[in-house]
């Protein structure tokens, strides 16, 4: 029991320690080699820049834009991904017919399409939302497809032996059994959605944290560049943990949740 508790709480101690060690190494590296402020600013100057950014309402506006794009794209990907995944999972024929296209679509580096989206949908939010949705769609759809296919035959037999209706089989078995796969897809999907958004902002537009990165670069403001990256990382973490928290709430019975809690 004591051992379990230790293992469970370990990340809460180890993570700050690792972060502090990294920052110290960073500082020492700069002092030892005399790296220029633009190439690698010191932790201190980044912190100053970060504080200045956080106090500027303009930054929050950019962050809100990026979050809106990523979340909207992600939600669109969830809806489309689940619907497509269920349809393909349920119909082997449909999946077989579309498989070459699906694989092709997956292999295409979708980031390369951003300029096209900019041409079609302009420099506004739409092109980034589409990019986010497109990147998040595949992991969600593929996981749902896998989940629908992975319903245990033995559990199906139980429902059949009880002459369960289609609706009841869906409600008590298929839906619950697929949920963990949906969440796995969403955990990957949210990260992809943020990547899509940021790359979209790099390439076009005048708003968002990605745009702020480009501005900092053009101004040759190394510390601010780092500070924006820290903000982006924080946004990513925040969204990921929101999905992860939702998962713990919705499927507490699942292995990925209770083993994560260290209760094995």
């Amino acid at each position: 029991m004591g051992q379990d508790r230790f293992v469970k709480l370990l990340p809460w101690f180890s993570t700050p320690v690792v972060i502090v060690l990294l920052v110290v190494a960073w500082e020492l590296f700069i002092r030892a080699f005399g790296v220029s402020e633009f190439v690698l600013p010191s932790p201190g100057t980044v912190l100053v820049s970060l504080v200045a950014l956080v106090q500027d309402p303009e930054t929050w506006h950019h962050a809100a834009i990026t979050a809106t794009e990523a979340i909207t794209g992600f939600l669109a990907a969830v809806v489309l991904g689940v619907a497509t995944g269920v349809a393909l999972g349920k119909s082997a024929l449909l999946e077989r017919a579309l498989r070459p296209m699906i694989i092709a679509a997956q292999v295409v580096p979708k980031v390369a399409l951003i300029p096209l989206f900019v041409i079609w949908f302009g420099f506004g939010l739409t092109s980034k939302i589409i990019m986010a949705a497109m990147l998040a769609f595949f992991p969600i759809m593929l996981n749902v497809l896998l989940g629908v296919r992975s319903v245990d035959p033995g559990q199906r037999d139980v429902m059949r032996s009880l002459t369960a209706s289609r609706w009841n089989t869906f409600r008590h078995l298929e839906f619950k059994s697929t949920l963990p796969y949906v969440f796995t897809g969403m955990e990957v999907g949210i990260v992809f959605a943020i990547i899509g958004t940021i790359v979209g902002e790099y390439l076009g537009g005048s708003e968002g944290l990605g745009y702020l990165v480009v501005v900092s670069l053009n101004q040759l403001d190394g510390p601010q560049l780092f500070a924006v990256i820290v903000l982006l990382a924080s946004l990513g973490l925040l969204l990921y943990f929101a999905i992860n928290g939702l998962k713990r709430l919705v499927i507490p019975w699942h292995e990925s949740v209770y083993s994560q809690n260290g209760v094995t």
Binding site: D152, D157, V158, T163, A164, H172, K176, S177, W253
Partner: protein, 268 residues
């Protein structure tokens, strides 16, 4: 139908010349051939045979999970199949326990046991009361709120049995339910099953490859020989109940086991 006036004369379960063929691209497999068997109310019948003899197929046919190629399954005087569909009212008289417990990991022990009642629309309070009663019956009192992952293999199988019993089925169909358990747990489960069968007055069809287990539990043991699966012999077990562990060392018990074992060995 053949319903007579005297209800005790109607067999609970009748297999009328069941045949089953599986067709695939590589040809057809004759799994069952002309199985005729009549099982009385409250009778405990085991089906034994080497692996691949069709005993699981037979159980799945009886349970309505797969249709027979020929013949008819009749329960309480009513045919199980109505055309290509299972008559759900007739199938509702069965409780099935599989080799794996097949519990739903998202439900607690109580909700797993109550699943058949949930499907029938029984209200929450009533189905939980019934499930708690059954948890007690199968020796799981105190584990009602646990999740399947927190239980041992034996306990999971008890949940599966309780689930099958929850809507008071007339016939309990069991497909090697203790096959995955260790010898000691298995022996205990056999004792419990005997007690449960007597308490619930259920008719039981029990598939196993373990001769001792079959003789211990049954009123009759059906020996199925393979390719195609057909009834080789039906052996009555006239040993008074309740049988305890010592029953296994009695000469009559051992004689029946030996007899069945020889018959199985003869198949080569």
């Amino acid at each position: 139908m053949t319903d007579t006036d005297d209800p005790t004369r109607t067999p609970e379960l009748e297999l009328r010349g069941i045949g089953k063929e599986f067709r695939s691209r590589s040809g057809s497999t004759h799994a069952l051939s002309d199985i005729k068997l009549s099982i009385d109310r409250r009778e405990f019948v085991s089906v034994i045979g080497r692996s691949g003899c069709g005993k699981t197929t037979l159980l799945r046919v009886i349970a309505g999970l797969t249709g027979p190629t020929s013949g008819e399954v009749v329960i309480g005087g009513r045919s199980l199949w109505r055309g290509k569909k299972v008559d759900s009212e007739v199938a509702g008289r069965f409780g099935v326990v599989f080799q794996d417990a097949n519990l739903f990991p998202w439900y607690t022990v109580l909700d797993n046991i109550a699943l058949p009642l949930t499907l029938r629309g029984t209200d929450r309070a009533r189905r939980h009361a019934r499930a708690a009663e059954l948890a007690e019956l199968v020796g799981l009192g105190g584990f009602e709120r646990s999740y399947p992952r927190e239980l041992s293999g034996g306990m999971r199988q008890r949940v599966a049995i309780a689930r099958a019993l929850s809507y008071q089925p007339k016939v309990l169909l069991m497909d090697e339910p203790f096959g995955a358990l260790d010898a000691m747990t298995r022996e205990r489960m056999n004792l419990e099953l005997q007690r449960i069968a007597q308490t619930t007055e259920a008719t039981v069809v029990f598939v196993t490859h373990d001769i001792t287990e079959a003789v211990f539990l049954s009123d009759r043991v059906v020996h199925l020989s393979p390719r195609p699966g057909r009834i080789r012999q039906v052996r009555g077990v006239d040993i008074p109940r309740p049988r305890d562990r010592d029953a296994q060392s009695e000469p009559e018990f051992q004689r029946i086991v030996r007899e069945l074992r020889h018959a199985l060995d003869e198949e080569g």
